[in-house]
């Protein structure tokens, strides 16, 4: 009778899911080591200018005027609209780096006319960028460890390992996507990645919570059946939350402006992957480690002084 309670047989596909995930993770790692990440200014250092023209900008004229001033290595491209352009320069040693931005703006104003509008100038020294990478990596690692500890404490280590595996899976795939498509990886994308961690963990904990509860409630189910049942019970919640989150991320993607584009892309992808991983990765890993009903029964808490007579 209990078997009919198992509902959707999610775990039947865990083999396929595992293979797909493993392949994707390997592909991501390969892409990360071959293509690397297309680090933005925040990490590489250098100078970036966003300037606005009154009419569609003539990129070639911008390039040649920059070249004549000795900025031949500048990357010039449109940004957002035809009137806005983005100019990027690698860190250089021959000129005082922090003055580059103003110099270029002057050049453009001389070549075109005074109406060239400065929208954004960013300059990051090369060392600062290195520190950002270090700091960002550190932040992510610390977050992972703290979350692992919390779940291990609140749940059980097998589920904690499953949850963190799901997290690592999501982060690796998102990084892999950025590397594969060579999307620019800047500080906002890093923030998005950390948000993916937040979202993914939220999702996974809900599933873990239900697995624990199901184990305790239905003594006769096998671990596999238990997981299936827990996943089925949480499925509509998982989907509803993902849908609302994806809805707002889509508005951010389309309406949030170019500065937030990378952020929205990373999160959109991360949320989709996170939803999938909370269903397949966390529970598969926990099952592989042999999670069982006994592991998840509430510990017998011996109340302090329970065996003593109450004080009068």
């Amino acid at each position: 009778m209990m078997n009919s309670e198992e509902r959707l047989p999610f775990m039947r596909f865990r083999g396929i899911a595992g293979i797909i995930s493993a392949l994707l993770v390997i592909a991501s790692i390969v892409s990360l080591s071959v293509n690397k990440l297309n680090f933005g200014l925040d990490f590489t250092g250098g100078t970036l200018l966003e300037v606005g023209f009154q009419e569609p900008a003539d990129l070639n004229r911008v390039r040649s005027s920059l070249e004549s001033e000795g900025f031949g290595d500048a990357v010039v491209q449109n940004y957002g609209t035809q009137e806005d352009i983005l100019i990027r320069l690698e860190p250089r040693t021959d000129v005082k780096a922090e003055e580059l931005g103003s110099n270029i703006l002057e050049t453009l104003r001389a070549e075109f006319d005074k109406t060239v509008e400065m929208r954004r100038i960013e300059f990051v020294g090369p060392n600062v960028g290195d520190e950002f990478i270090e700091q960002g990596g550190l932040a992510m690692l610390t977050a992972l460890i703290c979350i692992l500890l919390y779940i291990a404490m609140r749940f059980e280590w097998r589920l904690a390992v499953g949850a963190v595996a799901a997290l690592a899976h999501d982060v690796t795939l998102t990084l892999g996507l950025f590397s594969f498509l060579q999307l620019e990886f800047d500080l906002t994308v890093l923030a998005a990645l950390l948000a993916v961690i937040g979202y993914s963990i939220n999702d996974t904990v809900v599933v873990c919570d239900r697995i624990r509860e199901t184990f305790r409630k239905y003594a006769k189910l096998t671990p596999l059946q238990t997981v299936n049942r827990a996943l089925t019970d949480t499925l509509s919640r998982t989907l509803v939350t993902s849908i609302t989150t994806i809805l707002v991320l889509l508005t951010l993607f389309f309406l949030g402006g170019p500065l937030i584009h990378g952020f929205a892309t990373a999160l959109l992808f991360g949320v989709v992957i996170g939803t999938y991983s909370s269903i397949y990765i966390a529970s598969t890993v926990a099952l592989a480690f042999g999670v069982s009903r006994e592991d998840l029964m509430p510990p017998e808490v011996e109340k302090e002084g329970a065996d003593q007579d109450p004080l009068q």
Binding site: E50, G52, T93, K96, A97, E98, G101, S102, E117, M118, R119, R120, I121, E122, F123, V124, G125, N127, V128, Q135, G136, A139, T142, A143, C146, Y150, R154, T188, A191, A192, L194, A195, I197, G198, Y199, I201, N202, V205, V206, D209, E213, T234, R237, V240, T241, I243, T244, T245, L247, V248, L249, T251, L252, L255, G256, G257, L259, I260, F263, A264
Partner: protein, 614 residues
């Protein structure tokens, strides 16, 4: 009876929401373009200043919205943006140099709200325009300045005590003293032992050398001091620039963040903030021949330095006085209408100057202009490398004993201006370099606000629609919670003094809107399950809330951990994002668990229900 909240719980929810709404309210009033006037050290602001400002504005037909005196500052609110620049010019002209006149945006919060301490959210530079600098201090130079000063002190004291030494020199973070004979060695060892706090004395009898080594603690203190001193000076310089609401903060062990909202002229800002010029006053070595020195025979204790528009000069290495003691500096003109810089020293500086010039009347003294320039290169330890260039700008014969007030000549007019400004704002103890700069134009800032608000609005609408379709009446409850949540986030953001709204922060809010429904979804799904399990509606509601509680707590605590770590470790955009995320998690838990329960209880609670609209 099931599903009834006690009165106090309902009151608590109402109270929290009302307070948050009250503090969120200032955000819809917007801001007035304004001009902010504060007094420099030689001026005061009072009713008469107010009249002068009013009259000046009157003469150019600008009708200010209001003129008010707040915290010793005069705030002139204007009716439109395009009056702002003109108003500033006019006021600056009529008040003169002793006032700092800055452009500002003043919140148009009504008085009654202001009296409650309610203020709109602070907007980050990416939303309001302005410039952000990250500056790095040359710690090597800071340390060597301190230890050089120590060397001079030790030398002077030994001389005073008539202890005969053959050399006093600096070695890393230590001062080494070589004594002439054993007797002097004993005497010096006794004299110097425990004399200076933060230094330990090591004796080497064989070489008759004493070593005063800085302790680790002293080194750390010195580094801190260097940063603090630089921050103070940055603050002075920012004041000279006349910027409203600047942020000047320490970051890490040797960096300073300076944020100047609304500043567009970054070139001038950089020139003033980044300048590391200082002055030194030294005696000219007139006992030795300059030509000998130029041929390579520089006498011990002297140094050959170039002079602006003149021959090289031979100067004593000992510095009489450095720029740190200058308290005021202004530009003046001498009888031939040549620019000069009038300098006022502090008490210690005045004494030093007076002592040094007492016995040297009739001898030449040189003013050395020192400038540090970053080379963009670093040593193995990652410390910035600077080149120091020293130039004699003036040599004058000391006519009489000098005190706290004197002047230097031999500088150009523009240079005199800049020099005076820099000296007034203080000499940096160590040179700095700008290692990061982010400038956001005002139009981009506005565009960021617009697109951010739009994204929040539409995201919000979509989620609201989805929830109603999916959960029907309970969806409406969730929507009420969502709206309340948004108000709570804005209210809390406005209340916390350190919280700043940035573009990633707005993204954080958008994300929270999406995720905030999660707690409700968890609860509602449980209720649906309970109904499917044939419980009565009241039982279903009760159990639904109960069983979802621990899941919600676990899920959110883990996310909160992530947010807090982001806040602690990250900086800039990451921090802005972490703040809104953390606040959003807490408020959404409150609205989803307590808030919706209050509504559900008052709508459905305590009644006999046959079915639920969920």
């Amino acid at each position: 009876m099931l599903n009834k909240y006690p009165l106090w719980k309902n009151l608590l929810v109402t109270f929290v929401v009302l307070v948050a709404a009250l503090y969120a309210l200032p955000n819809i009033y917007g801001e007035d373009p304004a001009v902010q006037i504060s007094a420099d050290r030689n001026a005061t602001i009072d009713a008469s200043t107010m009249d002068r400002v009013r009259n000046a504005l009157d003469s150019v037909d600008i009708e200010p919205k209001s003129v008010s005196l707040e915290n010793e500052q005069l705030l002139v609110r204007l009716n439109s943006d395009n009056e702002q620049l003109k108003a500033r010019e006019t006021i600056l002209d009529s008040l003169g140099d002793n006032y700092i006149v800055a452009l500002n945006l003043a919140p148009a919060t009504p008085e009654w709200l202001k009296s409650l301490g309610a203020q709109p959210m602070k907007l980050g530079l990416d939303l309001r325009g302005g410039v952000h600098f990250l500056m790095e201090i040359d710690m090597g130079e800071a340390m060597s300045k301190i230890i050089d000063g120590m060397k001079d002190t030790v030398r002077a004291e030994l001389r005073e005590e008539r202890i005969r030494y053959s050399a006093v020199r600096v070695d890393g973070t230590a001062v080494e003293i070589e004594l002439r004979n054993d007797e002097a060695f004993q005497e010096a060892a006794q004299y110097l032992d425990n004399r200076y706090q933060g230094y330990v004395l090591a004796e080497n009898e064989e070489t008759r050398t004493l070593r005063l080594e800085m302790t680790e603690q002293k080194i750390a203190e010195t580094r801190d001091y260097a940063v603090d001193q630089n921050i103070t000076i940055m603050r002075n310089r920012v004041n000279e620039l006349g910027v409203a609401e600047p942020v000047i903060q320490r970051q890490g062990s040797n960096r300073i963040v300076v944020e100047l909202p609304g500043v567009q002229d970054t070139a001038r800002a950089k020139e003033i903030l980044g300048a590391t010029a200082t002055l030194e006053f030294r005696m000219v070595d007139s006992e030795n021949d300059v030509r000998d020195a130029m041929n390579g025979r520089v006498p011990f204790g002297s140094e050959l330095l170039p002079m602006r528009d003149g021959p090289q000069q031979l100067l004593k290495e000992d510095v009489i006085l450095t720029g740190d003691h200058i308290v005021n500096a202004g530009v003046g003109y001498d009888e031939y209408n040549r620019p000069q810089v009038n300098i006022t020293l502090d008490g210690v500086g005045g004494n030093k100057m007076s002592l040094a010039t007492k016995d040297n009347v009739g001898k030449p003294m040189a003013t050395v202009f020192i400038e540090y320039e970053a080379t963009d290169e670093r040593d193995e330890e990652g410390n910035l490398q600077f080149t120091k260039s020293a130039e004699v700008i003036n040599v004058a014969t000391i006519q009489s004993r000098l005190g706290s007030n004197f002047r230097i000549t031999g500088v150009g007019a523009q240079e005199a201006q800049n020099l005076a400004l820099l000296l007034r704002a203080g000499a940096l103890i160590a040179p700095i370099q700008i290692v990061e700069e982010r400038t956001v134009g005002p139009s981009l800032g506005q565009q960021n606000i617009d697109s951010g608000t739009q994204a929040i609005f539409w995201g919000f609408v979509l989620v609201l629609a989805f929830m109603v379709v999916y959960y029907k009446k309970f969806g409406l409850v969730a929507n009420a919670a969502l709206a309340t949540n948004l108000i709570l986030i804005i209210g809390v953001m406005s209340m916390i003094p350190g919280a700043t709204l940035t573009l990633p922060g707005m993204a954080g809010i958008v994300l929270t809107v999406g995720m905030a429904v999660d707690a409700n979804v968890l609860i509602f799904e449980r209720i649906r399950e309970e109904i499917k399990a044939k419980r009565s509606p009241q039982q279903a509601i009760h159990h639904g809330y109960d069983s979802a509680l621990s899941t919600i707590a676990d899920a959110n605590v883990t996310t909160l951990i992530a947010a807090l770590i982001l806040f602690a470790i990250g900086n800039g955009p990451i921090k802005g994002f972490a703040i809104t995320l953390a606040i959003g998690i807490i408020t959404s838990m409150f609205t989803a668990i307590v808030g919706t329960r209050a509504i559900v209880n008052s709508v459905w609670g305590g009644k006999r229900l046959s079915k639920l609209s969920i």
